[in-house]
């Protein structure tokens, strides 16, 4: 269930005064089972990129392959692709519409043409996966709290049993605990199933914590496509385009400048703490 983009270009409203190149020459391969983070400014093209992955936006030029098949080929089943590459939009709770949560989550499977029993089976499975308690399944989605609505909406996509899950800022507007819960749940999902996860986020800290690989977008182009450590080592370049490495990266650089023998590649608090403890021990040993 790999995704491959070859020289994808996308131009908004071509031929009008509003013409804007949103993506230029995107080449990208996402192998099956990876956890990829996409980061970039508002307007860097990251949302446009994700909408190419399930065919919602058609590239102006270039090709998108899913499992080796060209999705723009004649007769390619776009609806099947959309159930295979599940896309969770920003503020996904704004798409809820049914009388109760369970029926809403069934909407995706129903569109896949499954039997009502199968729909419900998949829906309950998805609701369990996102950790929404059973007592809420029969309530109206509009009565849930913000975090619960978000879970229900993500379940709505998971119920289609996609091979790839794309999440566009799934934690926007949630409080810190809510944010951690959703992200932990996604990480858990990724470990449990062999799903590919593509996480679009503004938060370097979150991406550093979860992603195997980070794609940095800037002005419609891929600036970096590498492991978190490698990407954050370019922290000065990231700053030039208005992004930043996680705060710990800066702390480690400062500590090193203050004369401690620490590595500067730590991207999470735990890694940083390990490094510092090590350096402090060495220093004490040598004195």
């Amino acid at each position: 269930m790999s995704i491959k983009l070859e020289h994808v270009n996308y131009i908004y409203s071509p031929g009008t005064a509003y013409e804007k190149k949103a993506l230029s020459d995107i080449c990208l391969e996402i192998p099956h089972g990876e956890f990829v983070g996409i980061i970039g400014h508002t307007g860097s093209g990251k949302s446009t990129l994700t909408q190419h992955l399930n065919g919602l936006i058609r590239a102006t030029s270039g090709t998108v392959f899913y499992n080796g098949e060209n999705i723009y080929a004649e007769g390619y089943d776009m609806r099947k692709l959309r159930s295979q590459v599940g896309l969770v939009f920003q503020y996904p709770e704004h798409q809820l519409f049914e009388v109760d949560v369970l029926t809403d989550v069934c909407f995706g499977p129903k569109n896949q043409g499954l039997t009502p029993e199968e729909c419900e089976k998949r829906a309950t499975e998805a609701l369990r996966l996102v950790g929404l308690k059973e007592k809420y399944w029969k309530s109206s989605p509009f009565e849930l709290s913000g975090g619960q609505k978000r879970r229900a909406a993500i379940a709505g996509v998971l119920a289609m049993r996609p091979g790839v899950l794309v999440l566009d800022e799934p934690t926007a507007g949630l409080d810190p605990k809510g944010r951690d819960e959703i992200l932990d749940q996604i990480a858990y999902l990724h470990r449990q199933s062999d799903m590919t996860v593509i996480l679009v986020s503004h938060s370097m800290e979150d991406i550093a914590k979860y992603a195997d690989r980070i794609i940095v977008m800037n002005k419609g182009r891929i600036l970096y496509n590498d492991t978190p450590k490698q990407v954050f080592s370019h922290y000065q370049e990231l700053e030039k385009i208005g992004l930043a490495a996680p705060q710990v990266t800066y702390i480690m650089h400062d500590i090193r400048e203050a004369g401690f023998d620490v590595g500067v590649t730590a991207t999470t608090v735990e890694e940083a703490a390990d490094e510092i403890m090590e350096a402090v021990k060495k220093r004490r040993g040598s004195v």
Partner: protein, 285 residues
């Protein structure tokens, strides 16, 4: 005693819970006997997770909600007094979370003029205020723009200008950054900090982003309708585990310092900036 900008006494706010037919089946307390005093000219932050009651409290400061029990005074005026309603709203201006849903005008300057128009300010004075407010949030060059074409951070700055133009004594910002990207967040906070120095207004910032409150004079933490912690940022951030139990977070540097202390290093509690951590580490030997 110094005159308090905001004062509450056993403030209670109860929602009615209804069943499917719309019958009242009980009440739920969003705010439960809160006593709070905010001095004039301070920068106050109110923290809490979603549903902790912090937004409900904020809406009382502008008399959008009135207490179901207890009392709230804004600049010495009881918010329950209908005669004082407009004075309360004029003295405590409010900025909301969603940048789109609080801009009324279709042109930036007309939106900023909306408040003064409602107050019956003479035309020439409105123009002066609009210009002055837009300058103080750094949006004067956008005065003829349509709000729809602005970024989230810019929209919030326009909303702030709209409140300043009413010349309030106190500005209440109810999660003004929750829907913004990191750039927008920084932009809005910078504006708020600058404003405070320039206009000497009391600022009350409601948020769940911890990085935003390290410059506050005083922090209140809310949970389940109660104020559960209060103090300076340093006092609050020195209690990492307590904060976590209230579903809150601390900046990474505070978390790292806390982690190191747990692992046995002699680092003081309540580290807020990375320079402080480096200094503490250097002092270790």
């Amino acid at each position: 005693m110094k005159h308090n900008m905001i004062q509450t006494e056993k403030l209670i706010f109860e929602y009615e819970k209804r069943d499917e037919e719309g019958n009242v089946i009980g009440t739920s307390r969003a705010i439960d006997e809160v006593d709070l005093g905010i001095e004039e000219g301070q920068f106050i932050a109110i923290l809490g997770h979603n549903g902790s009651g912090k937004s409900t409290l904020a809406k009382h400061m502008n008399a959008i909600l009135v207490p179901t029990g207890g009392t709230m005074w804004v600049d010495g005026r009881n918010t329950k007094d209908p005669q004082e309603l407009w004075n309360v709203r004029q003295s405590a201006g409010m900025v909301f979370q969603n940048p789109d849903n609080q801009i009324i005008g279709t042109v930036v300057e007309e939106d900023v003029g909306f408040g003064p128009e409602n107050l019956g300010v003479p035309t020439d004075e409105i123009w002066k205020r609009v210009e002055d407010s837009l300058k103080s949030v750094g949006m004067i060059e956008y005065r003829h723009h349509s709000p729809n074409k602005l970024s989230g951070g810019q929209k919030q700055r326009v909303a702030i200008a709209g409140v300043i133009a009413m010349e309030p004594k106190c500005i209440v910002l109810d999660e003004p950054t929750a829907m913004l990207d990191p750039d927008g967040r920084k932009e809005v906070l910078r504006t708020v900090r600058e404003l405070r120095h320039r206009k000497h207004v009391t600022v009350i910032l409601i948020t769940h982003y911890m990085e935003e409150v390290i410059y506050a004079d005083r922090i209140f933490v809310m949970d389940h309708g109660h104020i559960v912690m209060q103090g300076t940022p340093r006092e609050i951030f020195s209690q990492v585990d307590t904060l976590k139990s209230y579903r809150l977070d601390v900046p990474q540097v505070t978390m790292l310092a806390d982690e190191l202390r747990k692992r046995g290093l002699a680092i003081p509690a309540g580290i807020l900036k990375k320079e402080e951590l480096v200094e503490a580490l250097c002092r270790l030997n």
